[in-house]
Amino acid sequence: MSGSRLTKWVVAVPMAVLALATVYPLVFTTNVAMKTRRDYTLDRFSLADSLRWDNVVKAWTSVGMSKYFLNSVVVVACSVALLLLLGSMAGFALGRLRFRGSSTLFLGILAALFVPFQVIMVPLARIMADSGLIDTYPGLVLAYVAQFLPFTIFLLTSYYSTVPAEIVDAARIDGNTVYGVYWRIMLPIGAPALLSVGVLNALFCWNDVLISLLMMPSAEHRTLMVGVTSLRGQYSDDIPTFASGVLIAAIPVLVVYLFLQRQIADGVTAGSTKG
């Protein structure tokens, strides 16, 4: 390979610039959030003179971000818990137990993976409205579970198919029922995969805006991302408060990313190398 050291350094320069361009938007937003409105109007680019949290506090309390934040936390927690439970049950059954028709069933679930939400959103909204689930938290949770379950099952099935059959057999000889094997052995053994899939699902649900907009029309039920979109109209003349709201929505993702980057990447790439 002609990758001489000089070439590598020449390439490294644009790559470093791109890295800066990747980080800068969030740095800029943080800086704006720390400014007073006056400072921002006078000079939006200079560094804020101190870490001033007034705007963030204002966005959290009086703008209602705290309520939206809580809504999102509840919805995401319930959705992810349900996704992991149903996904691991199905993944264990399809990947490890296998039964007549299980591979056909798996293909059917894969097919659902290729039905994007935009294609089914109109009838789904009607189904939800007819069953009284529109504008309710269970309805939104159910919509998220339906949306991300095929992907969850896909990953967990391929994970559980790598678990040796002897483990199941040994546990059965010890007197466990199939459900006992699932609960006492497969759930703990699946922890790494469950963590990876769980984090990814949490991000999907946390970041979603379309499903939430469709399922939760009333203002007090807004999730955080819908809350951020509504900030824009309300605070178009108070950019530091707007930026603070954006920051509040971004910080949890940043924290999760810093600690679980590898798990997120594992989930994203799982489909590309297997199957």
Binding site: G3, K8, A16, P25, R98, I109, A146, L254, Q261
Partner: protein
């Protein structure tokens, strides 16, 4: 053991998941297609044949949305090549390669809403980007206000926000690459471009195929947040995409049957694009063998 209850256990374990997927994912697909042949408003529930599709294809907004899909297809190779090249450089250990992966991947985990909100500030007419261009003696450009520019701006932001996803997939592909092939190319004195074309591309054909398909799906189905926050489909409807059109017809115009027709059209587009890409790439990979 071996009791009837035990034999049914696997079915019991998959049943809840299958029920949810069938009722809330597959059944709505059937319902939606059926729905697209019924009327809106006064003609609610009546079969109207292809009337919605005729309305759809004569609606300038939907035509713009289709034209923009064409644009996305044209830009697709660029959106795949950028992360592909970057991943190649990281794989070849350019200085700082450990840092880049983590930094580039980060925007991919941010919500399009957050990304869009931030870029609204950055791309404002008097914002940082125009100031930077001004410093270089260029611009200013009305990034989001000029109908000829806005769609490129939104697509550009989408690529900025998602190239890290494809990058990570490419790096996972590189991890499976047989490094002796690269060494052999080096011994044979192959240039960088030759190495990419004759060694890396054929070895990673599966990964490349995966990235092409997922990037296209991403462009067709995950730009709603950006459009909603950055342009609302404007200026002059120039940034409409099918998913935004569906949302407007369903959520704002109260025309669910028309929206269903647009949904069905989007589904067909995705099917065609997906199959075509797989076909093209498979043939390309076959030629390399």
């Amino acid at each position: 053991m071996g009791s009837r209850a035990e034999r049914l256990a696997p079915l019991v374990l998959v049943a809840p998941a299958v029920l949810i997927i069938v009722v809330l994912r597959l059944w709505p697909l059937v319902l939606g297609v059926n729905f697209s042949f019924t009327g809106d408003g006064d003609r609610n529930g009546m079969m109207v044949g292809f009337a919605n599709y005729l309305t759809l294809f004569s609606d300038p907004l939907f035509r713009t949305a289709l034209r923009n899909v064409g644009l996305l297809v044209l830009l697709l190779p660029v959106a795949v090549a950028i992360p592909g090249l970057l991943a190649t450089f990281i794989y070849l250990r350019v200085p700082g390669h450990r840092l880049y992966r983590g930094v580039y991947f980060f925007p991919a985990v941010l919500s399009p809403v957050i990304v869009g909100a931030i870029f609204n500030l950055l791309l404002a007419f008097d914002g940082p980007l125009n100031r930077l261009l001004g410093g270089l003696g260029l611009g200013p450009v009305d990034w989001l206000g000029d109908p000829g520019v806005a769609i490129f701006t939104v697509v550009g932001v989408h690529v900025w926000a998602t190239f890290g996803m494809a990058l990570v997939v490419f790096l996972a592909g590189f991890a499976t690459l047989d490094s002796s092939l690269l060494d052999a190319a080096k011994v044979d004195g192959a240039s960088f471009a030759q190495t990419i074309w004759h060694v890396i591309v054929p070895s990673l054909s599966r990964t490349i195929q995966f990235v092409f398909v997922t990037t296209m799906i991403g462009m067709l189905t995950s730009m709603f947040g950006l459009l909603y926050v950055m342009t609302s489909g404007g200026p002059e409807g120039s940034t409409y995409l099918p998913e935004y059109y569906i949302w407007i017809q369903q959520g704002q115009m109260n025309q669910p049957a028309l929206a269903s027709a647009a949904s069905t059209a989007l589904f067909l587009i995705m099917l065609v694009v997906g199959l075509a890409q797989i076909g093209i790439l498979r043939r390309a990979a076959g030629k390399e063998d």
